[in-house]
Amino acid sequence: MIKLDPKIPKGPLAEKWTNYKGTMNLVAPNNKRNIEIIIVGTGLAGASAAATLGELGYKVKVFTFHDSPRRAHSIAAQGGINAAKNYQNDGDSVYRLFYDTIKGGDYRSREANVYRLAEVSANIIDQCVAQGVPFAREYGGLLANRSFGGVQVSRTFYARGQTGQQLLIGAYSALSRQVASGQVELYSRHEMLDVVKVDGKARGIIARNLITGELERHAAHCVVLASGGYGNVFYLSTNAMGSNVSAAWRAVKRGALMANPCYTQIHPTCIPVSGSYQSKLTLMSESLRNDGRVWVPKHKDDVEAIRNGNKSPNDIHEEDRDYYLERRYPAFGNLVPRDVASRAAKQACDKGHGVNKTGLAVFLDFGSAIQRYGKSEAYKHGIENPDQKTIEKYGKQVVEQKYGNLFEMYEKITGDNPYETPMKIYPAVHYTMGGLWVDYNLETNIPGLFSLGEANFSDHGANRLGASALMQGLADGYFVIPYTIGQFLSHEIRTPKIANDTQEFIDAEKSVTDRIDKVFSVNGNKSVESFHRELGLIMWEYCGMSRNAEGLQKALGLIRELREEYWKDVFVPGSKDEYNPELEKALRVADFMELGEMMVKDALNREESAGGHFREEYQTEEGEAMRNDEEFAYVAAWEWNETDEAVLHKEPLKFENVELKVRSYK
């Protein structure tokens, strides 16, 4: 077993980061000039890291498979970004943000990392404002906040429903400034296909120029992976079509460890699947659950009638509806956390109450809200006994003010008018808390290989709170890696420029060429897409919202079979020497299949329910998640090996500052 040293600095929690920064090794400016860094990915974490390291004077090469850094999927984040600014004077503090994040993560993350995240959160807002991110403001000109799930303070900064976009544009513009100054070299439409290790250290990558198909060797003193999460292993997710695990997975194949791969966040309010052609799922903001009531029909014949179109949801009488969240969780009602709401929807549909053709949807109904708002609005207008029409008119106005853009988006996609008929929603894969194992320096177990953002596992434990992903990505890129990378690089100042013609690079390139040739040589009959869809179905069925040992065992077998079939029957059109999106997908799906297997193994191993990982065997009598802190308060870091038997390494989690409690929403 590899000894996993998280390298957490000594001292009291609140002083660790400050003291560490004050005493860590630095690289002098004249040396920075000669040190090269490769960064893979240009989302929030990658772009912010590339910009900052460029500003510091390092020679940076940054890679993205997109045509522009601005397309990275960070751009799609809607809600906001958390920061412990306490601008609202509502009792927020670094400690409270730290505590909320640890608790929200169901006590499966590292205290020191999370505390540091909370500490630098305030600087992120300042930095973004200075870059020109147009955050929402009050009439007085100061920054506005809103609150998000799982917390009691208002600490979320936002830019309408496009916070991720605005933050990414900020990081992208900072990156562009460094590209213009020559500090950063930008390689767009380049996909990393391997990490190159020299003497045990990460010293470069093999990248494929996606336009020409040429393989390129890029050498550097160290490599930073900021390549995002792996939610697309489920095929259908809220991730972008191109989001993939391959960069991280290539690192795993070179010896990096994958931590907690089974921790997957399922978001409860997404637009349901409408047919087998579906390519992706669209998220509807969590904020809808403030006013929307979730229900399914109580009676199966009503369900049938709705599915056939013989009845409209508005025909179902109040007493024939099951508002299951309100029934099961009277204290929190429709506002239970994401994992709880998602599981409840699945259970309702599993019992046959799903309300669309596929049987996988529940209603999110604004009828009551329209009535409620309508009455009070009519009263405000001096109407004592409003008729139904007046109430609806005023009610819809209020709902439109609050959620107009979301309703519009829903109508655009589904063609249904949510003011007239309830929305249909269903949970969907949204984020992956697991990722490459990293220590406090964000360095993997391979020296010189770092990982940032969603690609690493570090801060969210078993469940991520809303508006924390953006915070982590930018914290890692702007304020953590620029310091901690020095811990490695300060020992490399005497290392001359890394040559890219050494045997290690030649071998790595050859292995990539072989892999590409292999996938073409199959020349079977099935498209890459069809394998990806099948993998997704297996993962969703057995390793999705709830899991059990039997299903996971079965999934292991199914994935194995699928993998074997893949290498016998996949067909990739075109050639490798051209722009070939099918080839790109083929390589990514091959990696997803291996990762999927590791996720299932991790889920099997973790015999408890924690956050996004729900094992049916480990639940209370009322069906709530049951953690096992005695046996599973550890990070499960998995090592891939050639015999396909992943090896588990454990990093115990020590909680010195918080008390482990059971979450309850009854």
């Binding site: 045509d67 601005r70 300042d126 955050f135 000109g141 900072a174 304020f479």
Partner: protein
Amino acid sequence: MDLTLKIWRQKGPNDKGRLETYQVKATEEMSFLEMLDVLNQQLIEEKKDPVAFDHDCREGICGACSMVINGRAHGPQKATTTCQLHMRHFKDGDTITVEPFRADSFPAVKDLVVDRSAFDRIIQAGGYISVNTGQAPDGNDIPIEKGIASKAFDAAACIGCGACVAACPNASAMLFTSAKVSHLSLLPQGAVEGERRAQLMVNQMDKEGFGNCSNTGACEVECPKEISISNIARLNRQFIKSSLSTDKVVE
């Protein structure tokens, strides 16, 4: 529904390219890109080369998708990217022509894919606020009037898709460039280097070979984020002012 698709096929930048006709069955609930996915599956099953097109987030924000559908950039729907366009807006038996975003500054890559890196270079020329990480004052040190912040946001909503260029009869990139200039120069922290930015970005835009704006307003109509041409007027103003009224010369 049964559709006839006429799709622009072009092997690479040196190929002349031509429209080819395909038949595809779609359903109303599909998005336009999902309909193309179906076509591609069909082509792959026939061991033919699938149609290459740019796409990624499929929720209208990344700006990757880019096609001209029946002469309209991102198709006929207002404020909609191609990925958000759904087939219910088409009828059984329709013939749909799909072409790439055409502009000499967006060189062809393959089929419907073009190279929009000219936009990146325009941003690199000056589309940023020159502030290093760690130099920022407190976020609330500079109050920004709500209306100004909101206007800056309207301009910042640009997704860099290039529909403005595709729709413009002159292939002008003024809406894109002006949106970025407006976003930054409306904010006090960005106004500091506003004049220099306008100069640098317009110079780069001209160098990329985009056409000249002749105020047809096509960009504004086709912009999926409904960015207004009042931004172009603002850029005109800033550029003219910075060219003629300051004593500084931007090299």
